[in-house]
């Protein structure tokens, strides 16, 4: 492969500036001492200090974490079982249900979100259950995460040597022992990768949460959206900066772990 030519390099530099301009601007403006945003007025760390004294923001952090942890826990169990079932057993309608896995990919999220909103309110009218709030958000997130994890798990199972499970059976393991002590440990990297994806998706999600959240159940993305609608304030920049830094650290860590995993697999 040829070395990149000069125009190619210049083009890449322009694109990286374009991609990083918004990220850099948010970080820089989080240190701007101007109270109502606007032009640069000098350096301050005041906005970071106010973050920790704002109950509104702290509760958004708590909600986001509860939502992500609870939904990922539920969907990892159900999604792993589903991926295993879809790849190992056949049953009537399997093909149809395999297609069901791709609904979250092919339906625009706002359509799925309003569909769930209507569903929740109809169920509430008939039964009094599913009051909009953290519970409905968890249900909605799990709905999106299950197919994601099932797809990851199924593709990992497809690459696994069937001889290993056959050997386990020949050595006298029953179906449960075989799954628990042979298949699941081999599957673990896939399960963890799926769970990490699901967790990130939950933390990042705005549209699904926005429509299925009730009053009082605010997450970080919803908080950022509603604050920006009222006008950008420096403390929102500070909050956004912390989120951006967390994503950068998270991305680099996951990439490093993946690379190490791949290197070990090669040895």
């Amino acid at each position: 492969m040829k070395r990149p030519s000069l125009p190619l390099c210049l083009n890449a530099v322009v694109l990286y500036v374009f991609l990083y301009a918004p990220i850099v601007v948010v970080i820089v403006y989080s240190f701007n001492s101007a109270r109502r945003g606007g032009p640069w007025r000098g350096f301050t760390t005041e906005w970071y200090a106010t973050l920790f004294h704002s109950p509104e923001k702290l509760s958004a952090v708590t909600n986001t974490v509860i939502l992500a942890v609870a939904s990922t826990a539920i969907s990892t169990v159900l999604g792993t079982l589903l991926g295993y079932g879809l790849s190992r057993f056949s049953f009537p309608g399997k093909k149809l249900f395999s297609w069901l896995m791709y609904i979250p990919v092919v339906v625009p999220d706002i359509v799925a979100a309003v569909a769930m909103l209507m569903f929740c309110s109809f169920v509430r009218n008939w039964t009094g259950l599913l009051e909009l709030g953290l519970t409905t958000m968890i249900i909605a997130h799990v709905t999106f995460q299950i197919p994601l994890i099932a797809i990851v798990v199924r593709s990992r199972l497809a690459g696994m040597d069937p001889a290993i499970e056959e050997a386990a059976h020949d050595l006298g393991a029953d179906a449960w022992q075989k799954f628990r002590h042979v298949t699941l440990p081999l599957l673990m990297p896939g399960v963890l990768a799926g769970a990490a994806l699901a967790f990130t998706m939950s933390i990042d999600d705005f549209v699904i949460s926005f429509f299925t959240a009730g009053p009082g159940a605010t997450t970080l993305p919803i908080l950022i959206y509603s604050s920006v609608k009222r006008g950008i304030t420096p403390d929102i920049n500070a909050l956004a900066t912390l989120i951006v830094l967390a994503s950068i650290v998270g991305t680099i860590t996951v990439t490093m772990l993946q690379r190490r995993g791949r290197n070990e697999a090669n040895i």
């Binding site: 492969m1 040829k2 070395r3 990149p4 083009n11 890449a12 694109l15 990286y16 374009f18 991609l19 918004p22 990220i23 601007v25 403006y29 945003g37 606007g38 032009p39 999604g79 079982l81 589903l82 295993y84 079932g85 879809l86 190992r88 249900f97 069901l100 896995m101 791709y102 609904i103 979250p104 990919v105 092919v106 339906v107 625009p108 706002i110 359509v111 309003v114 769930m116 209507m118 569903f119 709905t143 499970e165 050997a167 386990a168 059976h169 020949d170 075989k178 990130t200 705005f206 993305p221 950022i224 920006v228 609608k229 956004a240 989120i243 994503s247 950068i248 991305t251 680099i252 990439t255």
Partner: protein, 303 residues
Amino acid sequence: MKPKIHFGEQLSPRAEQVRSALTSGPGITWVTVFLLVPLISIVVISFMSRGTYGDVQPHFTLENFKRFLGFGAFGFDPLYPKIILRSLLMALGTVALCMIVSLPLTFFIAGLPQRWKQVALMLVVIPFWTNMLIRTYAWQIIFSGTGWLARAAASLGLIAPGDALYPSAFAVFVVLTCDFLPVLALPLYASVEKIDWSIAEAASDLGADGRRVFWHALLPQIKPGLMAGAILVFIPATGQFAIPDLMGGAKTVLLGNAIQQQFGFSRDWPFGSAISCLAMAIVMIGLWLFARTAGEEGRKTLV
């Protein structure tokens, strides 16, 4: 029926159903109840009408579909046909622009030495995993009236002095491209990295000029990644609501905003459902075209 051998174990059809129900059952039930049923009901509700208090009346009507085609209760009104057209143009324009700028970018990354390749790729992955709302609202700061971009545009006479560059269709377009660029670039890079350059060399040895080498020797090799990236941008761009809401305001209402309006303050769920059905239909048509052009290879790249 004869029991079949399953991973060394004899499994009767009955036992296999029991295992299926135990493993796939809960997940399938969950997704069916909370996603498939709501999506089917959105189709059903789109044929119903709105009651006086924003409730849903079970009277069959085609009114909602007529209304967004422009034939509402008060004669022809191009408001909704315009929204459909605007959404389609925005989504397709975003896909096209992301493609045009991603192609040289991915070739640049693939041509770097191994060490720098990892860094350059990481620099595309980081924005991909950074919250889209944050990357969107930051443009409000960049495009603000006191920013140098707005001042430069004002001195060129493009906008009035002191005005911001948003809300505008231009701002929505720029932000859509910036936000979705990594979504297209990453699957495309996976294809570009695997290019067999000997085919390109053979083509140029046989006398093809640069343009023909690209069209006939390189493009067919990267088509799966290009198409997968295109569809991954097209689907969310069609239903996008936060970006046009923050960067376009009332001037650039797209399908997503129209849906949100009907489920928000307008509270006309049947009409909102009809618009949602339309958004789904547009995406399905896009996927169908994708399946036709990209074929089996492309489908594998996507899923």
